[in-house]
C-alpha cells in the first residue's frame, strides 16, 4: 500500500510508512505547472526582449560613468527641493549603481522567466562518516601511534607536551611592550595628574584668552583650558586636553551649597569644574542655568554644580572634580593647584574615597 520513495537513500523512506509520525502521507512532489513563458511564445519573446534591454542598458550606463567622471566638475550641485547633492557624486553613483542593478535584474529575470524551472531532487547523505571510513581511520591511527613509538617511549610525549606548552611564551611575552606599564609610579605621572598647577591661568577654549571674574555673568558657562596647554602640540596636546578641560560657571552664592572645605575654591559664586565626565570621559557642557545641573550628552549623567558636583541622575558614580581657583595679581582667574582627585573615568586602582567634600 505504501511505496518506498527512498531510492535506497536513508531518511527518505519513512514518509509514507509510519502513520503515527505522518498522519497525512507524503503525496510526493506537486505537479509542475508551466509558466506563461513556457507555453506562450509571445510572452517568451517579450521576456527575452526585457532581459536583452536590461543587459543592453549596462554598456550605456558604464560609458556614462566614464563620461561623468571626466566631464562633470566637482563643484557642481543639484537641488531637490530642500536637499542638495553634489552632481558628480550623484551621477557617478547613479550610472554605476543602475548598471550593476540592471545587470543583476536581467540575470534574475532570465532565470525566472526563461530558464527551465523544473525542480530537481537530490539526496542527502548522513553528516556522519561511514562506518567504513571510521573503522579505517581508527585502525590506521592505531598503527600511526604504534609506528611513532611514542607509547613505548613515554618521555618523548611528556617532554613534547611541555615544549609545546611553552613555545608560545615568547610570542605572548613579546606583546608586553604594547604600551607602558601602568604601575603606581606611571599612573601618578599620567592619569593621576594634569598640567594644572599653582598659578596656571584659566583661559577660554579655542582662543586661549584669559578670563576676569567681573566679565562673567550669573548663569554663564565658559569652556576653559589651562594656559600652558598652548605650549603643547600633536598627541601630547590631545592627551593633556582630554584630562585638563574645564568649565567655569557663575551661580548666585545664595542659591548654592558650598561645603566649608571648598569655601576658598571659588570666587564669589564662580566655580571651576572638570569638563570630563566621571562616567566614561565625554566632555560635558549642557548647562541648565536654573537648576545648576550639568548634563552629559553621551549617557545623560547629570551633576549638580551647586552642590559640589554631586551626581543627581544617570550612570556616573562619582561627583565631578572641582578645580580650586583664585585670581592672580592682574585679576585673571588662575588655578590654585592641580585637581585633588584624578579627573575622568574610574579605574580599579583609583582611590575614590576623597571625591566628595
Amino acid at each position: 500500500m505504501s511505496e518506498d520513495t527512498s531510492h535506497g537513500h536513508p531518511g527518505t523512506e519513512v514518509a509514507t510508512v509510519d502513520e503515527e509520525r505522518y498522519p497525512v502521507p507524503d503525496p510526493g512532489l506537486e505537479e509542475h505547472l508551466p509558466r506563461l513563458t513556457d507555453v506562450d511564445e509571445k510572452a517568451a519573446d517579450r521576456a527575452t526582449r526585457q532581459v536583452a534591454t536590461f543587459f543592453g542598458l549596462v554598456p550605456i550606463l558604464s560609458i556614462g560613468f566614464v563620461v561623468v567622471y571626466f566631464a562633470v566638475p566637482g563643484d557642481a550641485w543639484v537641488d531637490f527641493g530642500p536637499l542638495r547633492a553634489n552632481s558628480r557624486n550623484l551621477l557617478l553613483g547613479l550610472t554605476f549603481g543602475l548598471a550593476l542593478l540592471f545587470l543583476g535584474i536581467g540575470a534574475v529575470h532570465w532565470a525566472r522567466k526563461l530558464m527551465d524551472d523544473k525542480e530537481m531532487i537530490d539526496y542527502r547523505h548522513s553528516a556522519a562518516s561511514s562506518d567504513d571510513d571510521k573503522n579505517y581511520v581508527l585502525t590506521e591511527l592505531d598503527k600511526v601511534v604504534d609506528e611513532s613509538k611514542i607509547t613505548r617511549r613515554k618521555i618523548i610525549g611528556r617532554t613534547l607536551l611541555a615544549a609545546l606548552a611553552t613555545i608560545l611564551l615568547p610570542m605572548i611575552v613579546g606583546l608586553a611592550d604594547l604600551g607602558p606599564w601602568p604601575t603606581k609610579k606611571k599612573r601618578a605621572e599620567t592619569i593621576e595628574r594634569t598640567i594644572w598647577a599653582p598659578g596656571v591661568r584659566v583661559v577660554q577654549d579655542v582662543t586661549f584668552k584669559p578670563i576676569k571674574p567681573e566679565d562673567i555673568e550669573i548663569g554663564q558657562l565658559i569652556n576653559g583650558e589651562p594656559a600652558n596647554l598652548q605650549e603643547l602640540h600633536g598627541s601630547e596636546f590631545q592627551i593633556e586636553k582630554a584630562k585638563a578641560a574645564v568649565i567655569v560657571v557663575r551661580m548666585d552664592p545664595n542659591t548654592i551649597t558650598i561645603p566649608p572645605s571648598r569655601e576658598g575654591w571659588q570666587i564669589g559664586g564662580i566655580l571651576c569644574y572638570s569638563k570630563i565626565c566621571t562616567h566614561v570621559g565625554c566632555p560635558i557642557s549642557l548647562w541648565e542655568q536654573q537648576t545648576h545641573h550639568l548634563l552629559c550628552p553621551c549617557h545623560q549623567s547629570t551633576f549638580d554644580l551647586g552642590d559640589a558636583g554631586k551626581v543627581v541622575f544617570g550612570p556616573a558614580a562619582r561627583p565631578l572634580p572641582q578645580l580650586p581657583i583664585t585670581t592672580d595679581a592682574e585679576g585673571y582667574i588662575v588655578a590654585q593647584r592641580d585637581f585633588l582627585v584624578p579627573p575622568g573615568p574610574s579605574y580599579f586602582e583609583r582611590d575614590s574615597r576623597h571625591d566628595s567634600p
Binding site: 527518505t12 506537486e30 524551472d117 530537481m120 607602558p180 549623567s301
Partner: protein, 578 residues
C-alpha cells in the same frame, strides 16, 4: 544465443571525423584553455559534484546572501579606500578643497578622509557605499540568524555553523566599530573615548588593558594605526576564513528546506546550481551591489566634515554610535550608577556590566541556545526540514522575548532623542526603560507563545474542517454557515509533517542510575514540560479521517501519491444537490 560483437563499419569511421555536436563560438574558444586547466588541476572532476547541485528556493534564504554580498562590496570598496586613506594621527594643517576647515590642525587620518570625500573623484561615493554596506552587512547577518533561529536550522548537524555565524556577527560588529573610528572625527572619537572609559573600568586589569590598547594615555598616537590593522587585515582575514567554513558546511550538509509535498528529511528539492541558481545568485549579488551603490550615491552617511576633527574637549548633543552598537549604548545609559569603593580600589560595575556583560550575554546566549534546546529535547537525529515557527511556540517566544529585550536596550541608546522628539521627560524615559528591559521580554514571551498556539489551532482547524470558501449557505432554519472546502493533500502534509515533541512526566523507573543522573533527567523532563506542554498535538490520521467523513469531504489517505482534491469537489457537488 549470444549477440554478435559490435564491429567497426565504414559509417562509424566517417562519423568519427565530424564533431558530435555543433558548439557555439564561446564554447569552442573556451575548449582549449579549459583542457589546459583540466590537464593540470582536473577541472571536470572538481566541478562534477557541484555542477547540478540542488538548492531549494525561498525568499528567506536570501538574507544570508545579502550578508555575503555586502561583505564582498565591503572588501572591494575597502580596497579602494585604502589607496587614499592615511592611518596616521600626526598633526598637519588642512590644505584641501573644503574651505570651512582649511587652515585647521587635524590628524592625517581626518585630512585624508576629507581628501577622499572632496578631492578624489568618486571618493565620497566609495566612502558612503562602504559605510552603507557595513550597516547592511550587520543587519543582514542579524536578520539571517533570526531566520535560522525561528526555523530551527541550528539543530543537528548545523550547530557548528551556528557558532561560526555568531563569531562572524561579533567580528562584523567589531569591524564596523573600528572602521568608523578610523577617520578620527569628532563623533567616532567620542565613541573611542567611551571605549577607553569602558576598558579602563574593567576590575583589576582595566588600566593595563587601557595602556596596552592605546599605547599609553588616551588618545595617544597609535590607536588609529592599530585599529587600521585590525580593520583591514585581522578581522577580514578571520571573516574570510569563517565564511569559507560556513559555506563549505552548507554545501556539505546541503541547504535545509521548508516542509512541503515531496520534501522529506532525506532529500533536497530545488533548482540546480547551473544554470538557474547561479543566474539567480549572481544576479542577486549584482542587485545588492547596485542597491548599495545607489544608496551611497543618494543617501548621505557619516559626513565627517560637518563633525570636524576629534577634539577631546568638544562634543555634539544627540551623539549616537552606528546602529548595531545601539544596544550596548542603551545598556550603558540605563545602568544605575553602581560602583564599589573598597579601600583604595574602585569597582565600576556601572560601566563594566553593560559594557562587557551585555555583549557577553548577547553573544553567549546566542551561542549556547542550540545546545540547551538539544539537551531539553534529547533529540539526536539530523534535521533538514525547517520548523514552522508556530510549531515550536516556546522557542519562538524565547526569540521574540530576546528581540524585545534588545529593542528596549536599543531605544535606551537613544533615550535623549526619544525625550526631545516626543517631548517627554528624559528621566522618565530612563526609569521606564530600566524596568521595561526586564518586564517587556516576559510580556512578549507570553503573548508570542499564545499567538503561536493560536496559529497551531488555526492549522488544526484547516486540517479537520477545510478552508473557508467564502460562500455562505443559509439553512431553512435561517442559520448562516460558511462552506468549507478541503485543503490539498500537499498542504495537509505540510501542516502535519512536523514532530510532536513530548512533554515528559517525571521518571519513575530510576534503577541503575546515580542520584546525579536521576536529578539531571528529572530537571530535563521538567524543562520538556515547560517547553512542550502547551504545544498543540497534531491531529491523528484517525481524527483527520473522521473529520473528513463528518464533513463529507473524503480525503483518501491511501498514500498512493495521487491528489484527490478534484474528487472531493465532486463529492461537494453531491452534497449541494441534496
Amino acid at each position: 544465443m549470444a549477440e554478435p560483437a559490435a564491429t567497426v563499419n565504414d559509417e562509424t569511421a566517417v562519423q568519427a571525423q565530424t564533431p558530435k555536436k555543433e558548439l557555439g563560438p564561446v564554447f569552442k574558444l573556451a575548449g582549449g584553455p579549459t583542457k589546459w586547466l583540466d590537464d593540470r588541476i582536473g577541472v571536470a572532476g572538481l566541478s562534477r559534484p557541484f555542477l547540478r547541485k540542488v538548492f531549494p528556493d525561498h525568499w528567506s534564504f536570501l538574507l544570508g546572501e545579502i550578508a555575503l554580498y555586502s561583505f564582498i562590496v565591503l572588501i572591494l570598496s575597502g580596497i579602494f579606500l585604502t589607496i587614499w586613506f592615511k592611518p596616521s594621527m600626526s598633526e598637519i594643517e588642512y590644505e584641501g578643497s573644503y574651505e570651512l576647515l582649511r587652515g585647521l590642525q587635524m590628524s592625517e587620518a581626518f585630512a585624508s578622509t576629507l581628501n577622499i570625500s572632496f578631492d578624489i573623484r568618486g571618493g565620497l561615493l566609495l566612502r558612503q557605499m562602504h559605510h552603507w554596506a557595513a550597516a547592511v552587512f550587520v543587519a543582514a547577518m542579524l536578520t539571517h540568524s533570526l531566520r535560522i533561529f525561528f526555523t530551527g536550522a541550528f539543530r543537528k548537524p548545523r550547530e557548528i555553523n551556528w557558532l561560526i555565524g555568531v563569531a562572524m556577527l561579533t567580528l562584523g560588529i567589531i569591524n564596523g566599530f573600528t572602521g568608523y573610528s578610523l577617520p578620527d572625527d569628532l563623533l567616532s572619537g567620542t565613541g573611542l573615548r567611551f571605549v577607553d572609559g569602558l576598558i579602563r573600568s574593567i576590575p583589576v586589569i582595566g588600566t593595563w588593558a587601557e595602556f596596552f590598547t592605546f599605547a599609553g594615555e588616551f588618545p595617544g598616537e597609535l590607536i588609529i594605526p592599530r585599529l587600521y590593522m585590525v580593520h583591514i587585515l585581522l578581522v577580514p582575514a578571520l571573516l574570510l576564513g569563517l565564511i569559507a567554513a560556513h559555506l563549505a558546511l552548507v554545501v556539505y550538509h546541503k541547504h535545509t528546506q521548508y516542509p512541503g509535498p515531496g520534501r522529506v528529511t532525506g532529500n533536497v528539492v530545488g533548482y540546480p546550481v547551473f544554470p538557474v541558481y547561479a543566474a539567480k545568485a549572481g544576479g542577486f549579488f549584482l542587485i545588492v551591489f547596485g542597491v548599495l551603490t545607489l544608496m551611497g550615491a543618494t543617501m548621505q552617511i557619516n559626513p565627517v566634515w560637518v563633525f570636524g576633527p576629534y577634539n577631546p574637549a568638544e562634543i555634539t548633543a544627540g551623539s549616537q554610535p552606528d546602529w548595531y552598537m545601539g544596544f550596548v549604548e542603551g545598556g550603558i545609559r540605563l545602568m544605575p550608577n553602581w560602583e564599589w569603593h573598597i579601600g583604595s580600589t574602585t569597582w565600576s560595575w556601572n560601566v563594566a556590566i553593560p559594557g562587557l556583560g551585555l555583549m557577553g550575554l548577547f553573544f553567549g546566549l546566542m551561542a549556547i541556545y542550540p545546545f540547551v534546546e538539544a539537551w531539553v529535547t534529547g533529540d539526536k537525529s539530523e534535521h533538514h526540514i525547517l520548523d514552522r515557527p508556530r510549531n515550536n511556540p516556546t522557542r519562538t517566544a524565547f526569540g521574540v522575548a530576546a528581540m524585545t529585550g534588545y529593542a528596549m536596550l536599543w531605544i535606551g541608546g537613544g533615550n535623549d532623542l526619544v525625550a526631545t522628539q516626543f517631548h517627554v521627560s528624559l528621566n522618565s524615559v530612563t526609569y521606564f526603560l530600566r524596568v521595561a528591559v526586564f518586564v517587556a521580554p516576559v510580556i512578549a514571551f507570553l503573548v508570542t507563545k499564545r499567538i503561536c498556539i493560536g496559529l497551531q489551532r488555526s492549522d488544526r482547524d484547516r486540517m479537520l474542517h477545510g478552508a473557508e470558501s467564502g460562500i455562505i449557505d443559509r439553512a431553512p432554519s435561517g442559520k448562516y454557515a460558511e462552506r468549507h472546502r478541503p485543503i490539498s493533500e500537499g498542504e495537509a502534509y505540510t501542516l502535519t509533517q512536523h514532530e510532536d515533541l513530548p512533554a515528559l512526566l517525571p521518571a519513575t523507573d530510576t534503577d541503575g542510575f546515580s542520584v546525579k543522573e536521576i536529578k539531571r533527567e528529572q530537571r530535563r523532563r521538567k524543562a520538556t514540560r515547560f517547553y512542550f506542554i502547551d504545544t498543540l498535538r497534531r491531529p491523528t490520521r484517525a481524527e483527520i479521517e473522521e473529520a473528513a467523513h463528518h464533513h463529507m469531504h473524503p480525503m483518501h489517505l491511501s498514500g498512493d501519491g495521487e491528489h484527490h482534491a478534484i474528487e472531493a469537489e465532486v463529492e461537494e457537488e453531491h452534497h449541494l444537490a441534496k
